[in-house]
Symmetry: C2
Subunit: 418 residues, 2 copies
C-alpha cells in the first residue's frame, strides 16, 4: 500500500472487497486465516526487520520504555499473532445465522439473517499485533478490514498487512479484504473518519486522546470502546473473606485494563471491620477516600479524595473508597460516577443482588465475582475486538457477532398490500 | 413545559424519570398508557382549541393545503391517537427479556437481558399525533421520551403532552417520563441534539432536511430513518402477471412513503413483453428510462432518464425503468443506486431468488412480494417508530425491541480471575 494512493481509491477498493467477502463460504475464510498464520511465521525475519526500523526511529525520538515494549515484535509475539488467527479460524462463523423467523397473516415468511457490516474501520495505537488481530476478526465476519495504525508502528504494520494480503490472495480472496492506510498524517486520519458511504462501522482501539478525536471528527457510524471506572460494592451482608479476594483481584491482577476496579464502595455496617482488612490486603495500592473512610483507616494509610477522584479511571495501583449507609446510596453513587462498564456487588442477600443488577446502568453487572471477568475471552466469545460502553448496536464485550448486522429476508407468492 | 426552562434542566429531569421507569412493572406502564388514551379522549375540546391556534397561525403564513391537513387534529385523529396508545398497552413488554444465557468454565452464570435505553429523543415534523405515538412506544419500552416537534404544531403538541403527563401522574409515574421541548428555536434544536450524557438515542422522523440537520449537528447517538429508493426487479423467469400486480401495488398503493417502489429493473429476456403491459397498468405514472426501455415503450410513454433519476426517491407517481441483461447486472444496479431500504425480486427461479437475497445489501430483501410490506405493522411488531436504513443497532422496521439495549448480568460465588 503506497502512501500515494488516494484515500478515496482505497475506500473504493475496500468496498469492492467487502462485496466479494459477503458471499464467501466459511471454509475459504478459514483457509485464508490459516494461510495467513503460516505466512506470518514464515516471514519472521522480514517482519522483525521492519519492526527494527520502527524501533530505531522510536529510540531516536526518545520513546518511553513502556511504549517501546508495546511496539516491539518478537518470536513469541509473532507466534501469538499466528495462533490468534488460527483460533479465529476455529470459531463459529456468525454469517448466515438466522436469528428469528416467522409467518405473518399476509402469508409472508420473514427471517432475520445475520450478515456482515461491510467495511469495518479500526483506528489503533502502537501495538502492531492489532493489525493481524483486527484483520482476522474482520475476515471471519466477512467484513473488509480498513485499518489505520499509528505512525510509530507504520513499517511493522505495513509488513504485517502485506504478508496477510499475500495469504488472502493465495487462498483465492481479494487482497483488499485488508487495507492498511500507509499515510499516517493527521489530515489522512480526519479524511478516513469521514468516509461516509464507505465505512460501515469505525472502532477505535486506544486511549482517551483517540476516543476524543473520534467523537470530534468522525462522521461515520462508530462503536466506542470507552473508559472503565468500575466499582466493587461490599454490601452489609457480604462474605467479607470473599469480598477481600475479589477486591484484590479486581484492583491488582492487571490494573492497567478497563475492567480493573477503580473504586471501592462499602456499606457503613461493615466498613470498620472490612476497610482495615482490605487496606492491609492492598499494600502498595494508594488509597483515597471520603471522610468516613479516612476516619476508619487514618491519614497515614488513606488520603482525602476529591470529587474528581471518584470519577477517574486510574489504570494504576490507586483506589478510591466511599462509605455508604444503604444499598440505594451505593447504586446512586455507582450510577453517578461510573462509566457504564462493569459494576460488582458482593452480597449474600438475594434482594440486594437483584436490586443492584436491575438498577445499576452498566454494560455488565456482577454478583460475587471480579470485574476482571468482563471480556470477550472470559465470556466465551473466543476473541474480542473491544468492550463497548455505548448502548446502541453493541454493549459490553464485542466478538464476531458484534461485527455483523442483520437483514430481513421476506418470501412470498405474489402478495400485494391491501 | 414553559419555554423558559433551560434545556439542561429538562435533560436532567428526563434522566431522573428514566431511572424510575427502568424498574416499573408492566401493569403500571399499561395502566398509564390506557389512562393517557382515556384522558386524550376526554380532553377533546381542549386539544382541538390548541390545534386551532396552530391552524390559524399556519393559514396566516400561507401554509400549503397538504401541510395544513397534516397539522389538523379531528375527532377521528384523536380517536386514532387514543387507540394507538391502547394498542401499545396490549403489546408484549420488551424489558427483562433474557436474550441468551450460559455458563462459562469459570463457573460464572451469564445472561444477556433486555433493558431500556434510558432517554430517547425524537425530533419530528408537523403531525401532532407523533407526540402521543412516540410517547406511548417510549413508555412501554421504559424509556423517558424527550420530544422536539415543529414550531408550527407547538400549541397542539404542548396540549397533547400536558394531557399525557397528567395521565402518567394519575397512574403513579413521573410526569417527566414525557418532556416536550417548548422552545422551538433552531438554537434550542442544536443544543438538544448535543445533549451527550443525557440522550441515549436520537431518532428523527421527518424529511431529508431534518435528516441532514441531524447528520450535521447531532453529537448524541442516533438511528436514522433514511430514504427508500426501492427497486422491483423482474427476472427472466418471473410470472409476469404476478410481477404486474406487485409493481402496481409497490408504486401506486401509497407513493409518498419510503417503502414504495421508485424503480423498475427488467431482464432483457422479458422486457419487450413486460414493459408495454406494465406501462398500461401504470397509467398516470410518469416513466423515465434507459435507452432500451425508451426503445421498447417509445418517447410518447417514457422519457430518457438521467443518472440522477435512478438515484432519486420520487415519493410521487413517477418511476425509473432500467433494462438489464443478467441477474448480476440487476444486483449491481440495485446496490449502486439503492438506499439500502427494501428491494424485491420477482422470479420463479430458486437460484436467482437466493442469489438476489444474498447479494443485495439492504435492510429487507423480498421475493415475490411488494416492497410495501416492509413496515413494523406488516412485520407483526404491533407498532413502529420508524424504519432504519443504517446498519448499526437497528436495521429495518423498528418496534419496541429496537428502543432497548442489553445488559450482561454475571452471577458467581466469589470467582476471581487467574
Amino acid at each position: 500500500m503506497s502512501p500515494d494512493i488516494p484515500i478515496a481509491e482505497l475506500a473504493s477498493r475496500a468496498k469492492d472487497a467487502a462485496r466479494v467477502l459477503a458471499t464467501v463460504d466459511t471454509a475459504t475464510k478459514n483457509h485464508a486465516l490459516v494461510t495467513a498464520a503460516d505466512l506470518l511465521e514464515q516471514s519472521r525475519s522480514r517482519l522483525l526487520a521492519a519492526n527494527q526500523v520502527d524501533l530505531e526511529a522510536a529510540a531516536s525520538v526518545g520513546m518511553s520504555a513502556t511504549l517501546m515494549d508495546r511496539l516491539r515484535l518478537s518470536d513469541s509475539r509473532l507466534e501469538g499473532m499466528a495462533s490468534g488467527l488460527r483460533k479465529v479460524a476455529g470459531l463459529a462463523d456468525p454469517v448466515g445465522e438466522i436469528l428469528s423467523g416467522w409467518v405473518v397473516p399476509s402469508g409472508l415468511r420473514i427471517s432475520q439473517v445475520r450478515v456482515p457490516l461491510g467495511v469495518v474501520a479500526i483506528v489503533y495505537e502502537s501495538r502492531p499485533n492489532v493489525t493481524s488481530d483486527a484483520a482476522g476478526l474482520c475476515l471471519k465476519s466477512a467484513n473488509a478490514a480498513f485499518l489505520r495504525g499509528s505512525s510509530s508502528a507504520i513499517n511493522s504494520n505495513l509488513a504485517i498487512a502485506e504478508v496477510i494480503r499475500e495469504a488472502y490472495q493465495q487462498a483465492g480472496l481479494p487482497a483488499d479484504a485488508l487495507i492498511l492506510l500507509a499515510n499516517t498524517s493527521h489530515e489522512a486520519a480526519a479524511e478516513f473518519m469521514q468516509l461516509n458511504g464507505t465505512i460501515d462501522c469505525l472502532i477505535p482501539r486506544g486511549g482517551p486522546g483517540l476516543i476524543a478525536s473520534i467523537l470530534e471528527n468522525a462522521t461515520v457510524p462508530y462503536v466506542i470502546d470507552g473508559d472503565g471506572n468500575c466499582h466493587i460494592y461490599v454490601d452489609a451482608s457480604a462474605d467479607l473473606q470473599m469480598a477481600r479476594q475479589i477486591l484484590v483481584n479486581a484492583k491488582t491482577q492487571r490494573p492497567s485494563v478497563c475492567n480493573a476496579a477503580e473504586s471501592l464502595v462499602v456499606h457503613s455496617a461493615v466498613a470498620s471491620e472490612f476497610l482495615p482488612l482490605a487496606a492491609a490486603d492492598l499494600e502498595g495500592v494508594e488509597l483515597v477516600g471520603d471522610p468516613e473512610a479516612v476516619a476508619i483507616l487514618g491519614t497515614e494509610r488513606i488520603s482525602p479524595a476529591t470529587p474528581a477522584d471518584f470519577a477517574t479511571e486510574f489504570l494504576d495501583l490507586k483506589l478510591s473508597v466511599k462509605v455508604v449507609d444503604s444499598l440505594e446510596d451505593a447504586i446512586c453513587h455507582v450510577n453517578e460516577t461510573g462509566s457504564g462498564h462493569s459494576e460488582a456487588i458482593i452480597t449474600a442477600d438475594l434482594v440486594a443482588a437483584d436490586k443492584f443488577c436491575n438498577e445499576v446502568d452498566a454494560a455488565a453487572v456482577l454478583v460475587n465475582a471480579s470485574t476482571r471477568f468482563v471480556d470477550g475471552e472470559e465470556f466465551g466469545f473466543g476473541a474480542e475486538i473491544g468492550i463497548s460502553t455505548q448502548k446502541l448496536h453493541a454493549r459490553g464485550p464485542m466478538g464476531l457477532q458484534q461485527l455483523t448486522t442483520t437483514k430481513y429476508v421476506v418470501r412470498g407468492e405474489g402478495q400485494v398490500r391491501g
